[in-house]
């Protein structure tokens, strides 16, 4: 079972990590007269390459998407890599309005800016605005993927502290975990070295080389921190080398294990042959039509897939989709399938998942009409214990329609109460299926259905249960601007 759809589902597995959200702005008074003078720094150790980042971020309130949110300041870590750039976590610099960079042992803040962000893998590249700032600071070298039991040392600025902190531990598990930042899963390494808020983006060192970037921890367990290993770091750096981030590819297929002997016989697997049976290929993916429901996936990217959907990974096994971490968007991944008794070698072009991750750095879209607030039904909308109907619609409806991608959906997020709308019978968090008789698939089609209506009434029909809401068009039009003013909505839409 390796489908990416599966692991995205929020209710099918514990999210392993909680984010190492940047700690709140520093509060401790600066120690007196202990700052080492310039030039007195230790001049060879990799400590000098570890920096502190202070990000002022602003994230729009999902409940009032026109409200850009309260600015928040947080700190994280980063380290100098080749090319005079600093590698850190995406979540350290997400939704940024301003970034300040502090060098090890230096009290002067420097302006910094983002070069590239990969939210799905939770990595980012930043650089100082002053291009000479990092001259003389040795970049850290990214090493090889560590093995179970390897000794590691973390470096960073946890808990808002101004000065570098180091902790020590071992590689306690190699795993394939969803990122708390994006929900996307990647190869991930667990360590017992203390990883705390503010460590995010800091290097994890082994034998003088970077073996990872600390990115999340599991608050419910003891001594359980996670870092992203070199496979992911190098993938990200290679991806952004052309100045554009494409992301990690996914297959977006659903498959079922074949541990049962009868099930293996039925699909025609030979004695000793293994694989998993594909039963859904998302119709919007490049794999659609190449991989087919019923295919038994024997090999993915040259790796033999076991009956439980795992592949050999070093001395252990991981979910087969970890293989995709080796590929780039646009690559053609070799697969071997068993179809109707024939073993076929195919290549499947891969792209980023059709299920978008949670979005950052972009302002949420919305449309307000006569106090009714509409938003797209997206990952954000279903990420916070939504009604079951929304979960079903977002994750499952497509599985029942395997042959064509379903159009998007719009939901009524809430109502800005006003006499013109207060009797509307459609409750908040309802999917709006039709407006004035026209199917609504996104905010643009909703805006058109409203503006093109010349009838006396606006008629809204919700999906599931099918309640009908009616507004008097003239009265709604007249109330539209006063409602925006009363509720301090600067613009009625961001499409």
């Amino acid at each position: 079972m390796f489908a990416s759809v599966q692991r995205c589902l929020p209710f099918f597995g514990l999210l392993a990590g909680s984010l190492l959200l940047p700690a709140a702005g520093e509060t401790a008074p600066p120690p007196k007269a202990t700052s080492p003078a310039e030039g007195a720094l230790p001049n060879r150790s990799f400590e000098t390459s570890v920096v502190r980042l202070i990000n002022t971020s602003q994230r729009a309130d999902p409940a009032t998407p026109w409200n850009l949110g309260r600015p928040k300041q947080g700190t994280g870590s980063g380290f100098v890599v080749e090319g005079g750039r600093i590698l850190t976590n995406a979540h350290v610099v997400a939704d940024s309005r301003n970034i300040v960079l502090l060098l090890h042992g230096d009290a002067t803040p420097h302006d910094a800016r983002i070069i590239a962000v990969g939210h799905d893998c939770d990595l980012a590249l930043v650089e100082p605005v002053d291009s000479k700032l990092l001259a003389g600071i040795p970049p850290l070298t990214i090493g090889e993927n560590p093995n179970l039991g390897d000794a590691v040392v973390t470096l960073g600025y946890p808990a808002g502290g101004r000065w570098l902190s180091s902790t020590r531990g071992v590689v306690s598990r190699i795993d394939y975990n969803p990122s708390a930042h994006s929900g996307a899963s990647h190869l991930s390494v667990q360590t017992d070295a203390a990883i705390n808020p503010g460590n995010s983006g800091g290097p994890v060192m082994g034998d003088g080389r970077v073996v990872g970037v600390a990115y999340q921890a599991n608050g419910g367990l003891e001594n359980t921190g996670y870092f992203l290993p070199p496979l992911i770091l190098k993938h990200f750096l290679t991806d952004v080398a052309d100045g554009r981030y494409d992301g990690f590819p996914q297959l977006d297929v659903l498959s079922a294990g074949l541990d049962n002997a009868a099930a293996r016989r039925r699909v025609g697997l030979a004695e000793g042959e293994t694989g998993v049976q594909i039963y859904f290929v998302h119709p919007a993916t490049p794999a659609y039509g190449i991989l087919k429901p019923g295919d038994v996936l024997l090999e993915l990217g040259g790796e033999v897939v076991a009956n439980d959907g795992t592949v050999a990974w070093g001395t252990q096994r991981l979910q087969a989709s970890v293989v995709l971490d080796r590929y780039f968007v646009g690559d053609r991944v070799p697969v071997r399938v068993l179809r109707a008794g024939e073993r076929l070698n195919l290549t499947v072009p891969v792209a980023v998942s059709v299920y978008p991750i949670r979005s950052y750095d972009v302002l949420p879209t919305y449309l307000v009409y006569a106090g009714l607030v509409f938003v797209p039904l997206d990952r954000e909308a279903v990420s916070n214990s939504p009604p079951t109907a929304l979960l079903y619609d977002y994750w499952f409806r497509q599985i029942s329609h395997p042959d064509a991608p379903l159009p998007g959906r719009v939901m009524l997020l809430r109502r800005l109460d006003h006499e013109v709308n207060s009797n509307l019978s459609i409750p908040p968090s309802s999917i709006i299926e039709r407006v004035n008789g026209k199917e609504v698939t996104d905010l643009t089609s909703l805006a058109a259905a409203l503006s093109l209506n010349a009838d006396r009434w606006h008629v809204f029909e919700s999906a599931y249960g099918g309640q009908i809401g009616v507004l008097d068009r003239a009265a709604a039009d007249a109330a539209h601007v006063p409602i925006l003013e009363q509720y301090a909505v600067p613009k009625d839409r961001r499409l």
Binding site: A256, R266, L391
Partner: protein, 484 residues
């Protein structure tokens, strides 16, 4: 301590005179079916409840009246009257979960010799003071109360709501059929007590129900229901769009198969009135006794079997339609309400099949998602949803261990909607295999089992896990036919 006891005794003595010979205490041993292992029952438990003496169906016969909740899932009901140490066995005559009422008879008719029936209050209960009474150990406990309002509330055991009273009281931990009195007259049964407020089924409802049951002392479904999903017409705009001059009535969204309105009303109709009584914009009607009641609650004041005239707006044209008022019929829904009868199931090759019902579906999000996927109403072809509830791990079903809560579309290519069909479908393997096709989910497309070793594996697993029998058939619900 002694003084307290004495004063308690003195207090109880006078009330015993007033109510004691009409109230008995019930001890109910009850047991529920294990939802995940439908061949077993949970550990037996017991509850105490009150009952009042009422006239039975034959001259000279007496019954005990209590709430359906009091005798729910009972394996044995015993009654004990004041001053007697011995409990006598009581038999359930009729239980009506929708009305939340039940009557019991005593094997030993002599039980009633020194008891007398309660005298029902003849006029509706108004806002005055009331008394709630129950036996606690050997003493009668009475608590004062005051009717605070009329309200609509859930039956507690069924699905519908009906009209009743809220009573402010200092009675603690009640809700098991404590009788309410106005003066010495019986005025209702307490179905629930919460934070100093008792919910009371009023005597007029109880007496009407008793009259019906006396005439036909057999299981009844008595409370009427239209079987509608409808939307209140609260806004002037919606009303005007529908062609109404003001917000009133209910917009019909869907009509349940087998319900009273099946074949009479359809989506888009506006229900404007019941028997000449208009519905307001909340779908409520003015009841002469209780004030505004939801139309569902008002229907509970009518009896199944009666003809009901309804006023409807269809395509902007007013119509008067007549329908036979049928009882609420939980079986009419694709996902039926919780059942009290033994749940049908089938254990086949370690897979535990059972019906999807409301209480089972509430167990987790995945099950709730199955319901979202099946929003369509029941059809003659699909009356129920079958689920693989769990898998009893065995080498035979390796690969499916730990699976469960999966909706079943078909077995061996045959769509199944009852337990009998599940069993039948396993008689027709697809070649060497049994193939269980599943409803859309994110884990499995189908479950494949070896057909040749199926019987043997089922026997072995049944023995190992103590599943006996492996099959409890379902008595299929009556065919659902809507008159055209």
């Amino acid at each position: 301590m002694i003084a307290l006891l004495l004063s308690g005794l003195a207090y109880a003595a006078s009330d015993t005179d007033r109510y004691g010979d009409a109230i008995v205490r019930l001890t109910v041993t009850w047991q529920a079916w294990e939802s995940g292992q439908p061949w077993t029952k949970t550990s037996p438990s017991s509850r105490t409840a009150q009952a009042v003496v009422v006239p039975g169906s034959r001259p000279g016969e007496s019954w005990l009246l209590t709430t359906a909740a009091s005798v729910e899932k009972a394996t044995l009901v015993r009654a004990r009257k004041h001053g007697e140490p011995e409990e006598k066995v009581a038999r359930v005559v009729v239980v009506d979960r929708e009305a939340n009422l039940a009557v019991l008879s005593m094997d030993d008719a002599a039980f009633f010799e020194d008891l007398r029936p309660v005298k029902p209050l003849r006029e509706p209960v108004s806002g005055g003071p009331v008394t709630l009474a129950r036996w606690r150990e050997a003493q009668l406990e009475v608590a004062d109360g005051k009717v605070s309002r009329a309200a609509t509330f859930d039956s507690g055991t069924g699905v519908l709501g009906y009209a009743g009273l809220r009573v402010a009281t200092d009675l603690n931990n009640g809700g098991f059929s404590e009788p309410m009195f106005v003066g010495r007259r019986f005025a209702g049964l307490v179905t629930n007590v919460n934070s100093g407020e008792a919910t009371v089924t009023p005597v007029d409802f109880v007496e009407d129900w008793l009259a019906e049951v006396r005439e036909r002392p057999e299981p009844v479904a008595w409370v009427g229901d239209l079987g509608l999903s409808a939307q209140a017409i609260r806004s002037a705009e919606l009303a005007a769009w529908l062609g109404l001059d003001s917000p009133r009535g209910l917009l019909v969204l869907s009509v349940a198969q087998g319900g009273s309105a099946c074949g009479v009303l359809r989506r888009g109709d506006v229900l404007l009135g019941l028997g000449g009584v208009p519905l307001d914009g909340n779908g409520s009607v003015a009841d002469p006794l209780y004030g505004l009641l939801s139309y569902e609650a008002e229907l509970t004041r009518l009896r199944a079997g009666q003809k009901l005239e309804i006023e409807v707006l269809r395509d902007r044209q007013p119509l008067t339609l007549t329908l036979p008022l049928r009882p609420y019929f939980g079986d009419a829904w694709l996902v039926p309400t919780d059942r009290v009868s033994p749940p049908p199931y089938h254990m086949a090759g370690g897979l535990v099949f059972r019906e999807y019902d409301e209480s089972y579906g509430a167990r987790n999000t995945e099950l709730k998602l199955i319901k979202e996927a099946l929003r369509s109403a029941q059809t003659p072809e699909q009356r129920r949803v079958i689920v693989v509830a769990s898998v009893l791990a065995d080498p035979y079903n390796l690969g499916y261990h730990g699976q469960g809560d999966l909706g079943v579309a078909a077995i061996n290519g045959i769509p199944v909607d009852s337990m009998n069909e599940v069993a039948e479908a396993f008689q027709h393997p697809q070649g060497e295999f049994h193939v269980i096709s599943l409803l859309p989910n994110a884990r499995l497309l189908e479950i494949v089992l070896d057909a040749a070793t199926f019987e043997e594996a089922t026997r072995r697993i049944a023995e190992s896990y103590g599943v006996d029998p492996v099959f409890r058939p379902e008595i299929p619900p009556p065919p659902i036919v809507c008159p055209e």
